[in-house]
């Protein structure tokens, strides 16, 4: 009954069929077939991108209504290479599942995929997406950490479409009243500033700080930020776990200690983005780590004009954010790859990312847009966000990201809720990560 979750098909036959079908159809696809069938040398021989015609763009549900107008513009300019927008569910897990399903059946229904930045390695390692020619995209004008999220083993497998970085939201009114002139740069400063604020009568019942500490992807983000901000790593550049270190310990200790001494409220371990935002907006928090999306939303709440953003604090100086955002990748099994490549270029152009910033408040990948005076006037957080992204560290770039994030969540959560000491949690986490990366 419920045993039908998998979609096992004889994969080799489908590929053979598809290739022969393409041969019969006139050979447009031969190169595409053979290049994606080459199992080993994705590193050396770049696939050639041929074929022009209609393609599809696959992304999560567009709640802002900003994607279709851009596609319409493309379709007007390229009447013979029309792009159809396929909208997947809002839930990222469901998006990933559908994309994997499409890849597992080697279907050509999906051409250009909008991938969450943490999926790049997995999709690249399975060869579900093509390695892209670096020279055809203006990567040098993009922020370096953002470009890194699109790479796997040095090869470019996607083009950054949008980015995202964590920032520290703080209550300007309370800090000023308490005599704190600058937002905190280190964790100690954060705690000191908070102590001063708490002496104010109106801040008596407030808590200090929160992030996203529920047991879900947000915890991985916050844990990685704490570890990176203390000089540690979760996995090194090659994807090897290296989390059982004194530096990482200091990072986790900040979170665990804060949860224990009440800097983080008790219910902090149930917070996702929205819970934290509600708490901050209703005046329960002095500091909150959150994404830029909340900047505009908070302006419509009771704390309008009473908050600002700063880069995340760290152990001895500014901290390191994790990166969010989406990259555009090209499905290995798609047709009309020449069109697809042009479309990716069009979609990630400076003009379009600026539109996305305005309409969907998606952080652009281009450095110059963060210095644009008119944009800054509209989005005062841009300079802080740029700083945040420049100092950011991508989350572990590993093939088995699902297992890695599950392990991080399990052990970090156990430490946060007091089931384990931070030392034990990191030791267990290191062992668990070794196991899942070795798979």
């Amino acid at each position: 009954m419920t045993t039908t979750k998998t979609s096992p098909t004889s994969r080799t036959t489908t590929r053979a069929l598809r290739c022969s079908a393409a041969l019969a159809a006139g050979g447009l696809l031969i190169t595409a077939c053979s290049s994606s069938a080459g199992t080993d040398s994705g590193q050396s021989g770049a696939p050639s991108f041929e074929g022009r015609g209609p393609i599809t763009y696959v992304a999560g549900k567009d709640t802002t209504g900003s994607v279709q107008p851009m596609i319409d513009r493309w379709n007007k300019q390229h009447p013979k290479e029309k792009v159809t927008f396929i909208q997947l569910p809002t839930d990222p897990d469901a998006q990933r599942r559908q994309m994997i399903q499409n890849a597992e059946t080697k279907s050509d229904a999906y051409t250009v995929l909008s991938l969450d930045v943490v999926w790049t390695s997995e999709f690249a390692a399975h060869q579900w997406i093509d390695r892209l020619p670096q020279e055809r995209f203006p990567l040098s004008r993009m922020l370096k950490p953002v470009v890194e999220t699109a790479k796997y083993r040095g090869g470019l497998y996607a083009v950054p479409g949008s980015s995202d970085g964590g920032m520290l939201y703080y209550r300007t009114d309370l800090l000023k009243k308490a005599g704190v002139s600058q937002p905190p740069v280190t964790w100690d400063e954060l705690k000191a500033a908070c102590a001063k604020v708490k002496r104010l009568p109106e801040a008596k019942d407030m808590s200090c700080y929160a992030g996203q500490f529920q047991k879900y992807e947000g915890l991985t983000v916050n844990f990685a930020e704490a570890v990176n901000s203390a000089g540690g790593t979760v996995t090194d550049a090659k994807g090897t776990p290296d989390v059982d270190t004194p530096e990482a310990r200091k990072g986790l200790d900040f979170l665990v200690g804060s949860a224990k001494d009440g800097t983080i409220p008790a219910e902090g371990v149930t917070y996702q983005e929205e819970d934290g935002r509600q708490a901050f907006q209703s005046g329960k928090l002095v500091f909150l780590r959150n994404w830029p999306y909340m900047y505009g939303l908070a302006a419509n709440s009771g704390i309008k004009g009473k908050y600002a953003v700063a880069p995340l604090p760290g152990l001895n100086g500014p901290g390191a954010s994790s990166l969010g955002g989406h990259n555009m990748a090209l499905s290995s099994f798609a047709k009309n790859k020449a069109t697809a490549l042009d479309f990716i270029k069009f979609f990630t152009s400076e003009e379009n990312t600026a539109t996305q910033l305005k309409k969907a408040s998606a952080a652009p990948p281009y450095a110059s847009q963060y210095d644009d005076k008119t944009l800054i006037a509209q989005y005062p957080y841009l300079p802080v966000l740029k700083e945040s992204i420049l100092r950011a560290v991508p989350r572990p770039r590993v093939v088995q990201y699902g297992d890695v994030t599950a392990a991080v969540q399990q052990h970090a959560y156990a430490a946060l809720t007091g089931d384990k000491s931070s030392a034990q949690a990191l030791k267990d986490l290191q062992a668990a990560l070794r196991k899942s990366v070795a798979q």
Binding site: T3, A125, Y216, A266, A414, T417
Partner: protein, 340 residues
């Protein structure tokens, strides 16, 4: 008076006997071979659909469960194209390294099933008794009781997540902060409360249907004999409603064993306190390990199957309809007599 023995088959209606007799009398024995072929022909589309949507996927899942996850080639950084054949290793693993998570999910599933179905049965029967009573505004009460069942599980999961939020209604009511959606026994309690709220009306509904076919005369006789309501309930209502109740409980058991969306949405994925077998299989599949995922799903399938079998065999749950089964038996006996 409590010996109010009900003639067997009262619930099936009194018109059963004549119908059977009429049909048996009018059916010529010679037609059996031809009608058999016709029956096969008529049933074949159903069988075809069943084999496409049930048997084929089940067999594919069985086959898939014999394959392991694809390996990563450390030299190229690419995942191999084929899945290695590992025979029964995925099944054997539940007794070894990966077993901890499986058994945790297994016990969670069993615990949820036993507790929720137990509570639902008690509450559902109570609901049915209330709905059965004639009183003013009965329509409203019925509708009110049935609404939770009409709400999609995913939605009720969201709804209860609001209630169990750290500053939600549940904490306001008990005046004490419990972080329901964190790990721990309280997360189990949250799932049980939401599940019982949602599905007790289902049992109530089926039991109500069972109650409505109990003839009034039986109660009148009992009353004349001086039986008080509790006695009437234990000795008349419960035995007579048992067939309907057993089917309801069986359906609920099978549903509860496959529980997925409620804990997934209410408490969250990756939460060991509430992870069920379905969630485990889904999690493995979403990490592109279809082999182990299929193995877990197959084990769950067997578990559900065994429970259903136990119900039918041990408790005599009447899935086909008692009347129909008996009629078939009788008809078979008759045919044997004829052919002999």
């Amino acid at each position: 008076m409590t010996k109010t023995e009900i003639p067997p088959g009262v619930d099936a209606g009194p018109s059963r006997e004549p119908v059977t007799r009429r049909r048996l009398a009018g059916k010529p024995a010679r037609a059996t071979a031809g009608s058999g072929r016709l029956a096969a022909l008529l049933v074949s589309p159903t069988l075809l659909v069943l084999s496409i949507v049930v048997i084929y996927p089940t067999l594919m899942a069985l086959k898939e469960s014999l394959y392991g996850p694809k390996g990563l080639d450390p030299a190229t950084g690419f995942i191999s194209d084929t899945e290695p054949f590992v025979a029964l290793k995925n099944y054997a693993d539940i007794f070894g390294a990966a077993g901890e998570r499986f058994w945790n999910a297994f016990w969670n599933t069993t615990f949820f099933t036993v507790v929720t179905v137990g509570l639902e049965t008690v509450i559902g029967v109570a609901m049915a008794l209330i709905m059965h009573k004639a009183f003013r505004g009965r329509g409203f009460v019925r509708a009110g009781i049935l609404i939770p069942w009409a709400v999609p599980t995913a939605i009720s999961g969201l709804l209860w997540r609001w209630i169990f939020n750290s500053d939600g209604v549940a904490n306001a009511l008990i005046g004490h902060q419990i972080l329901w959606t964190t790990e721990g026994f309280h997360a189990k309690v949250a799932v049980i409360v939401a599940e019982v709220w949602k599905t007790a009306p289902f049992i109530g509904l089926l039991v109500l249907a069972g109650l409505q076919v109990i003839p009034k005369e039986v109660y009148e006789a009992a009353r004349l004999d001086g039986a008080r309501p509790p006695r009437q309930f234990w000795h008349i209502t419960l035995p007579l409603v048992k067939p309907a109740l057993l089917v309801a409980v069986l359906f609920r058991c099978m549903d509860a064993l496959r529980m997925f969306d409620l804990p997934y949405i209410l408490v969250g994925a990756q939460k060991h306190s509430v992870e069920t077998l379905s969630m485990l299989a889904q999690n493995e599949a979403s990490n592109v390990r279809f082999g182990p995922a299929s193995a877990y799903a197959v084990l769950l399938f067997l578990y559900v199957f065994l429970i259903a079998l136990a119900f039918v065999r041990l408790l005599g749950a009447d899935l086909v309809g008692e009347g129909a089964a008996r009629r078939r038996k009788k008809a078979g006996r008759r045919r044997m007599e004829v052919t002999a």
